[in-house]
Structures are given as C-alpha cells and as structure tokens.
Point group: C2
Chain length 259, copies 2
C-alpha cells in the first residue's frame, strides 16, 4: 500500500502578496461567532439554553440583525445551534469543551492551505475509490467511461483538460455511494482546480500520462478490485502531487525574488 504523502513536510507556500491579503479582517459574522463562543465558554450560555433573541444579540454586539442571522446559520450547519421558527434558537446539548473545540474551527475553516487541500483530497479520494470499486453500478461505469473519453479527446486535441480530469474524479466520488464523502470531495474540487490552473501545475506531457492512469483506475473499478483501484489512484495522485510541489517551489522562488 502506498502512502507516500505521510511525512511530507508542510511547506509554507504563501506568497508575500497572498500573506498580505490573508490579514483581512474577519467577517462580521465570524466576529459574532467569536462573541457567542465566549458567551458559551464563560458559562453565561449553557448547553440546551435558549439564545437571547436575535434583536437582543444584534444590539448587544452593536451590529445589524443580518450578521447575527448569518452567524447562527453557520453554527447551525455545524450542528451547534438549532433554531425553531417563531420560538427561539437553542444551544445544542454538547458539552462546553466540545463546543469550544468546534467553534474555534468554524471561524478558521478555510481552504487556502494548498498542501492541506491536496492531502485531504488524496485521502478522501482513496477512500472513495475503494468504496466505488465495491459498490459501482453499471450506470457508474457508463459515467466513468464517458468522463474518460471527454478527457482523452481534450488532451488529444492539445487542450487543457483539468476540469475533465476532475469530472472523472467526481464520478468516482459519486460511485462511492457515500453522500458525505462525495460532498466533501465536491467541496474541495473548485479550490483544487483554481490552484492547479493558477500555478500551471500540469504540463502537456502530464496530461497524456494521466490517460493510462485513468484507464487503469477505471479497469480496477470495473473488476471490483479494491486494492488495484487504490493503488492505481494513489499512483495517479502521487504523480500530480510531486509535480505540484515542484511547481510550488518554483512559485516560491519567483515570489520571494526582489521586485
């Protein structure tokens, strides 16, 4: 089993300009989330309690109700709050410690650490492809073959095919028949594409090399060969990962050059 990604050092790859940009003030909603966090961790808001009315919170925090609602919406997505229409918003029954851990992450969840992104994608897809090899239907195979053809056509015409590549991987995620894993992969893909395109990670030869790799992944899924599918995908992603690292190092040098 191949897990070469383990142990790779996290390289700080932010350029100077990006670093500047990332100092942006946190959004008003995130500020409110921070305030709510303090209310909870300080014990003023116990698990199970009802939150003060949105209007009250808005006034208390000196901000419009829109932001309070946005913050509540976000915390609701994480399962930390539950709002009942015309009744009130309630703190989940989770303990303070758990909430504290999670809220901290709600605020700082972003996808601009490219290495973390690549790594997460790597593992998630490996998981997905194993499930796909086990559960794929005939329809899934159809979808995969079509996506593979689209990719080959683009490549053979000498065009960029980053998105067709991703589409192939999306079909794998769908074939996993696990909606949660699929959703998580789907969340990452736009950012992956963005970074790959921006940093011109894929050379022309890379595109052609990927074709047989895709084919062997598909073949393994067709044959329900879990191990083969895992290995084929790992090899495929490892190639990309190494190339992207090289691209980033080059980028780093460019960015750190005096202007």
């Amino acid at each position: 089993m191949v897990y070469q990604l383990i142990g790779k050092p996290n390289i700080c790859m932010k350029s100077f300009i990006e670093t500047i940009k990332s100092i942006e003030v946190e959004s008003p909603a995130d500020k409110i989330i921070g305030q709510l966090k303090q209310l909870i961790t300080s014990g003023q808001l116990q698990p199970g309690d009802r939150l003060p009315a949105e209007r009250v919170l808005a006034e208390k925090f000196g901000v419009g109700r829109s932001y309070v609602r946005e913050a509540i919406l976000k915390l609701e997505f994480y399962g930390l709050l539950k709002t009942n229409p015309q009744s009130g918003t309630y703190v989940s029954g989770l303990s303070i410690k758990v909430m504290d851990s999670i809220i901290t992450d709600v605020i700082k969840f972003n996808k601009d650490d490219f290495n973390a992104l690549l790594e997460a994608r790597y593992y998630l897809e490996l998981d997905a492809v194993k499930l796909a090899a086990e559960r794929r239907t005939e329809q899934d195979l159809e979808n995969l073959r079509e996506a593979l053809l689209d990719y080959e056509n683009k490549i053979n015409n000498g065009q960029d095919a980053v998105e067709e590549d991703m589409l192939f991987h999306i079909k794998i995620a769908k074939a996993s028949k696990n909606s949660v894993i699929e959703s998580m992969i789907l969340i990452l893909i736009p950012d992956l594409i963005k970074n790959i395109v921006e940093n011109k990670i894929c050379g022309e030869n890379r595109g052609k090399l990927a074709i047989p790799e895709h084919r062997s992944i598909l073949k393994a899924i067709e044959e329900r060969d879990i191990d083969a599918a895992e290995n084929a995908l790992a090899a495929h992603l490892n190639d990309m990962f190494q190339i992207s690292q090289a691209g980033y190092n080059a980028q780093k040098i460019i960015n750190s050059a005096p202007n």
Copy 2:
C-alpha cells in the same frame, strides 16, 4: 489492514416520523440555488459572467434579496461564485459540467444518512490518525492524555462519556496537522454525537471496553507507529459500528412496529 466497513449494505434507518419530517419543502435559498443552476446549465449564465444584480435576481425569482444573498453565500462556500463588494457577483471559470455536478450536491448535502455519516467518520479518522502518528507534537500528546483521563474518570464514575470520547477523537484530528481533514471531522461530530445519544448506542460495558482501545491508540501515536495507530483505531471504530448497527436494527423494529 482492516476495512470491514466496505460492502456493508446501506440500511434505510429512517423512522416513519423522520421520513415525514424529511418531506419538508426545500429552503427558499435552495430553491434559488436550483434556479441559478438552471440559468448556468441552460447557458444563459456562462462561466466567468457577472450575475445579474441581487435586486434583479430577487425580483426575477419573486423573493426577498436576503434569500438571494443566502444562496450566493452557499455557492461561494463551494467556490462556484465569487462576489466582489460594490462590483458584482461572478460565476467561477469552471465548466458547465463541473458546476452542474457540484450544484446538484450543494442542494442535497445533508448529514442525516447515519450510515454514510459513520462510514465517512471511519475513513476520515483513519486518515487523521495516520497523519497524527507521524506529526504529533508533545503538546498533542499532552492533549490526548488529558482527554483520555477525562474519559476514564467519567466512565469510572458510571457516567455517560460520549462527548469525552469524541473529545479524544477531536484531539487526534488536531494532531493530524491537516486543517482541512480536521474541519471535516469536526463538521461530522455533532451529528454523530446526536445520533449516538439518541439511539443509546453505547451500553455501560462498551464505555469500559473503549478505555484500553483508547490507550492503545494513544500508545501507537506516542511511538509514531502508523500501522499500529491505524489498526487500533480501526478496531475501536469497528466495535462501535457493529454495536450501532445492532442498535439501529433494534430501532428499526421499534419504529416499524404498529402504533
């Protein structure tokens, strides 16, 4: 390597009442997302284009601007739109096919398929623990030991310790040093806790049995033994999963009983 989860059939575990509830009309924001999807897939909105102004969209869809904003916010999280203040909201450069695939998922992303949830958690944590075994710092070990102690104390007092259990797993996620994977695990945890508590998945003996399992996970992480960490965690989660399946089957029988 243990991957017993593969191939387990997806059991429909929704109770009658929950099924009823899930027929709820999709939120106004999701409806708008659907409309936007159609605008994009029909070609009226090309990748890179600027969206009509929020006011225009609101009027066109016959709804308040808040909902349009909520929809845009959601699509922005998925990287499908980018809004520039005082300028406009722009469609990402992704191809129509990719956007179509993703938007479909944006609407139906929910975490109420408990089996998918458990399975995703299983794989994500397995990934996390491998990374944690490789990258953990002394501080991480401290955190893990503390979490483990909290758990043991609760259990030895005969109390419920579902959250302390989760806290231990949260610390593992943090030790992975991958913010994306950590965030994803954190998103799942409240729903996991909710389901576990609601379905009384953990009996008293289960709590005690988990103590040595936790210890061996910690030991493997301390020793940077990746394989051991993976195996220990897999065993731990497999135990829980089987118990939870049993719990669910029991639940199913209860729910399908005539009332």
